[in-house]
């Protein structure tokens, strides 16, 4: 009688163990499926976020040259050199655009500077190549886009007449 009872208990314990392993297997399977799904989802989310950043960079590169902080009086994808210099030297537009930096590059005529492009200051203009405007953006992504623009400034000729002198430039926006 005692021996029979022991037999029954052993079989029950075996069944419990079997179930526990089965259960662990099922749980592990679901966890693995979940992890796989999360990895797929996060990779697609990252891709779509990068796509949105790129789209935003393109939209900003096209519209920044017409914003009042940079635009010439005549408008039409034209950047005012003096406004760009003020933005470079002050932090007036800090937080206005979702960007980390704006570079305004003079494309034509070239200055003849060899090697590294020369950063513009009030003192060295027009013998320089680039105006860099920094703007802190906590996101600091990698998207960038550019657009060709007119780069204009007021100049005075030898007769004392003030006129608008325009050159070809490029605006590079980094998100």
């Amino acid at each position: 009688m005692v021996n029979d009872n022991i037999k029954i208990n052993k079989s029950g314990q075996f069944k419990i163990q079997q179930m526990a392993f089965m259960l662990m297997g099922v749980v592990l399977f679901f966890i693995l499926v979940g992890v796989f799904w999360l990895a797929l989802k996060s990779s697609s989310l990252k891709k779509s976020a990068a796509g949105f950043e790129q789209e935003q960079a393109i939209a900003l590169a096209l519209s920044l040259a017409d914003s009042p902080e940079l635009a010439c009086s005549e408008g039409g994808q034209c950047i005012d050199f003096y406004k760009a210099m003020v933005l470079k030297n002050t932090r007036i537009t800090e937080g206005l655009w979702p960007i980390s930096s704006i570079d305004i590059r003079r494309v034509y005529p070239r200055t003849g500077n060899l090697g590294q492009p020369v950063e513009c200051t009030v003192g060295n203009y027009p013998n320089c190549d680039i105006i860099s405007i920094k703007n802190s953006n906590p996101k600091n992504g990698n998207a960038a886009s550019s657009s060709f623009v007119k780069l204009c400034r007021l100049e005075k000729n030898y007769e004392g007449y003030v006129y608008q002198k325009c050159e070809l430039g490029e605006i590079i926006v980094r998100i």
Binding site: A59, S63, S67, K83, T90, G95, V122
Partner: protein, 325 residues
């Protein structure tokens, strides 16, 4: 008396399988519901981001004004929240998409914040087609482009010629300028009373001129309850076609940005002078104007107070030999 002692015996494995099955089923249903909600939240957030990006090229950029229609694949509810704090203030847009099952709108997605957009709306808007209309705001230099977004129709009765011409030239399909209320009803048979505005008098919502010249370059929009929204320059349209909170907040944000731009012009004027190009002679006025605008932005002021600043700005005349803007 015989008693049937037979019964159904539940073995341990049966009980165990049922409990575990129920738990797995519950988790699966719970997970699927959560996934569906997350999907709707993500969809809403993506649509809000797409719309915010779209608003950039929809600004005026070149020319005087722009109008058109945004068509979406499915109806959405667009929420807008405006805050006039910090250097430029900000507007947050969030979108709720239709639920995967049913006609209700899902929970709204994450808000997309922007500091360089000035969107005027009348409450939350819903639908799959939105009309937009954008124009520049000047004070006296260009401050920003504003945009009105809505899905409702608007009618202006007894509008001056310039106003009527502008609407007709732009071809804004949800806005009409008519000479009588009856004409308005004919143009938009189902138009709501609060979307009808009469110049001077004639209906519940009035547009009153304060310029003294009758050109409505400044004035106010008065609603049935007597509340007024003061406008100046191109803001006549937003004053009529947006709600009070949204309008006052965006006007304050315009003043914030105008203050920065005024300072920028003062600095530009100094640079031109240092480089011996020309002397605008208004850098001091611009700096003072920038300060007045900054003070306005920091205090609890309304569009009524902004009217005085607009008039002050109009008095700054730039030298034609040294144009700053």
């Amino acid at each position: 008396m015989r008693r049937d002692k037979r019964g159904f015996e539940f073995s341990f494995s049966w009980i165990f399988a049922m409990i575990v099955g129920a738990v797995i089923l519950f988790l699966a249903i719970y997970g699927a519901t959560k996934l569906l909600r997350t999907g709707e939240y993500q969809q809403g957030t993506e649509t809000a981001k797409k719309l915010t990006i779209l608003f950039d090229p929809l600004g005026v950029l070149t020319g005087d004004a722009k109008s058109g229609k945004i068509s979406l694949n499915s109806p959405i509810k667009l929420y807008e929240d405006c805050v006039a704090a910090g250097d430029f203030g900000r507007q947050t847009f969030s979108v709720a998409e239709k639920k995967s099952f049913g006609e209700e709108f899902a929970e709204k997605g994450a808000g997309i914040t922007s500091s360089n957009k000035y969107i005027f709306t009348r409450g939350d808007i819903n639908g799959s087609e939105f009309y937009f209309f954008s124009k520049s705001y000047e004070m006296p230099f260009k401050v920003a482009d504003w945009m009105i977004i809505g899905s409702e129709n608007y009618c202006f009765v007894g509008a001056p010629t310039f106003f009527e011409e502008e609407i007709n030239q732009l071809g804004i399909t949800n806005v009409a300028a008519n000479q009588s209320l009856a004409e308005c009803k004919r143009t938009f048979p189902d138009i709501e009373k609060e979307n009808v505005f009469c110049f001077n008098s004639g209906c519940d919502n009035k547009i009153i001129d304060l310029s003294g010249r009758g050109d409505f370059s400044s004035g106010y929009v008065e609603e049935k309850d007597g509340k007024r929204r003061y406008f100046f320059g191109s803001l006549i349209f937003p004053a009529a076609m947006s709600d009070r909170d949204n309008y006052e907040c965006n006007v304050k944000r315009f003043m914030m940005r105008a203050s920065k731009i005024s300072r920028l012009y003062a600095e530009k004027s100094k640079l031109l002078s240092i480089n011996s190009v020309c002397d605008s002679g208004i850098d001091v006025d611009l700096a003072a104007y920038s300060d007045s605008l900054a003070v306005f932005s920091q205090r609890n002021k309304t569009s009524f107070d902004a009217l005085a600043l607009y008039t002050q700005g109009s008095g700054i005349n730039q030298n034609s030999q040294c144009e700053l803007w």
